[in-house]
Symmetry: C2
Subunit: 346 residues, 2 copies
């Protein structure tokens, strides 16, 4: 870590009185040296993830710098928190690398971004321990690195699903991608017209810009060994279930009628095939998709902190094949989510 960022992060942290929190969280020496030092214990494994968000690809600046800094910082952290949750781990530490053009730097953009991200992380019990700051020629980039911990050997992988396991998803589906289409001025059929946003469209846009990672669900599923496999919905259900199937050498049957559509979709006039398609192929809901053995499914809480988990299907022996059951007919469901390079629709 260099010194610009060292001083900045240090001063931000001091303003948040994070030092006492650190001791409780196993941070030996955090901010202010060449690297942060984290204490290990023999009972835990560390999980680590990194997510790069790029202006013009993952987000667009609206011109309202205060909002932009806050939204981008929070979103970057949320995406990484979701990865940690998907491992059944509890997030603990955060590092942020931020690149901003000089003009934005001079207006305090990096400080605002870091400060917002840190406050958001801190509310979830995650401590900012380092990062890097650089100028860029033109665009904002943010790399978010989150470390979490999980009891030794209890990390939930994509590869643990067994035939007969029940498939669950937290929260609701399709909202984030509807929000993206609204932001892009896309052609989602809506009951309202004109430029004014209804509260439903505003809510969908928020689902896109400010995703809520399912931190508590992830930690619970790991700690209680309930999930046999798990992934977070970043690419879209049809793509992400395929990852579990491929890694677990199994198949899946999904029941269309069971999918928990985002209630804002209907409020915004998005129904029928449009809504189903968003729920199946829309990405970035950052819900958790996980499998549970039939026995363990009985011990699964139906909700946690107000967030439901819904049974949407079952793991089958039809290796690498996902079937969607709708109106009594099962058809093959192909991955239809994001093309990961470029994050554009296929």
């Amino acid at each position: 870590m260099g010194d610009g960022e060292f001083d900045l992060i240090k001063s931000l942290r001091e303003s948040l009185s994070l030092r006492r929190l650190d001791a409780a969280h196993g941070l030996v020496e955090g901010v202010g040296d060449d690297a942060a030092v984290l204490r290990q214990t023999s009972e835990l494994d560390t999980v680590i993830t990194t997510d790069l968000l790029v202006e013009g690809i993952d987000f667009t600046l609206t011109g309202d710098e205060k909002t932009d800094a806050s939204v981008i910082g929070r979103r970057a952290v949320a995406v990484s928190l979701s990865d940690i949750a998907a491992m059944g781990a509890r997030p603990r530490w955060l590092l942020l690398s931020v690149g901003v053009p000089r003009k934005l730097w001079e207006r305090g953009f990096a400080r605002a971004l870091l400060s917002n991200a840190m406050t958001y992380a801190s509310d979830i019990g995650v401590t900012l321990v380092g990062g890097d700051i650089s100028r860029t020629l033109e665009h904002v980039v943010v790399d978010s690195i989150v470390l979490g911990e999980v009891e030794r050997g209890r990390a939930v992988l994509r590869s643990g699903a067994r035939v007969g396991d029940q498939i669950f998803v937290t929260g609701s589906l399709g909202g984030a991608s509807a929000g993206l289409k609204i932001l892009e001025g896309g052609r989602v059929r809506q009951s309202h017209s004109g430029a004014r946003m209804t509260s439903a469209t505003r809510g969908l846009v928020a689902r896109q810009l400010q995703p809520t990672p399912r931190v508590e669900w992830g930690a619970l599923l790991g700690e209680r060994r309930l999930a046999s496999a798990m992934i977070d919905l970043s690419d879209g259900l049809s793509s992400d279930i395929m990852h579990i199937c491929r890694e677990s050498r199994a198949g899946a049957r999904i029941e269309a009628a069971s999918l928990p559509l985002d209630p804002l979709l209907e409020s915004a006039g998005i129904t029928g095939d449009d809504a189903l398609s968003l729920a199946l192929h829309g990405g970035e809901d950052f819900e958790l998709l996980f499998t549970v053995s039939e026995r363990d499914a009985r011990g699964l809480p139906s909700q946690l902190d107000g967030v439901q988990a819904t049974r949407i299907g079952e793991v089958t022996r039809e290796r690498g094949k996902v079937r969607l059951v709708r109106d009594g007919r099962a058809r093959l469901l192909r991955p239809g989510g994001f093309d990961h390079f470029g994050r554009t629709r296929r």
Copy 2:
């Protein structure tokens, strides 16, 4: 981790047969899930650092894509390895976030960069365990995250220097910044003229583009508890010694005649005040600057793997002040290295 990068990193790793190495290195589940899982032990602390390198600021593309990808990948990793060494820790794991414009992506630039970085890291015993890949609109960005391990409580901080401790530096000074000036077509006086590079200027450019982090020195100084404080020379000696002084609430006296000038400087015709200035204020040599108690200094090897450590001064009680002794006269040395934001000279 998404899937583009998951598949890419997985295939790169398989081609390097890294799986067996992983088991020895405490990697439980590395590449291919939402996050990498690393095993903790109660005898170790984890150290972590992140460094963001940005096209147009930290490097310029020369148009030779193969060279560019290789140089940038290696440099990004080297900078982070140097941070880990400066903590007295041994580097273990690497994550790389890479952003490239579509044109370069299509030519395999990201794959070449990752592949080169991974091979370089692997030679040092460091395993690539994750990362992220994104498109950018225009410029290449690389964020390098390295995790290392150190015996519990033995991380070497900047704050541990005591009055009377001897100050040492590994390797030689001034080469990297001379190389930067040559690259920038700067006004360093040189014995040769014209566009053809001599082997000395080529060597200096390599010191800039391909720094060698002092991994073995760092690990030894931590393991044997020899260094009381340490930092790597990224900003320049005059700036970096000040960080140790500030954090250790002490001062320093540096002897100009003892500074190990890069021998390539003289070969390139850079001598006298020019050479001294580069050694004092030039950044990015990525040597280790450390302090050792008088007693421990006797146990310090004079070299390790062919890299010397040179005594260059002493820690004093003149808090926050660094003095340079030259021709018997001591004058105040002010930090004159990089302005960290923007990495341009002050």
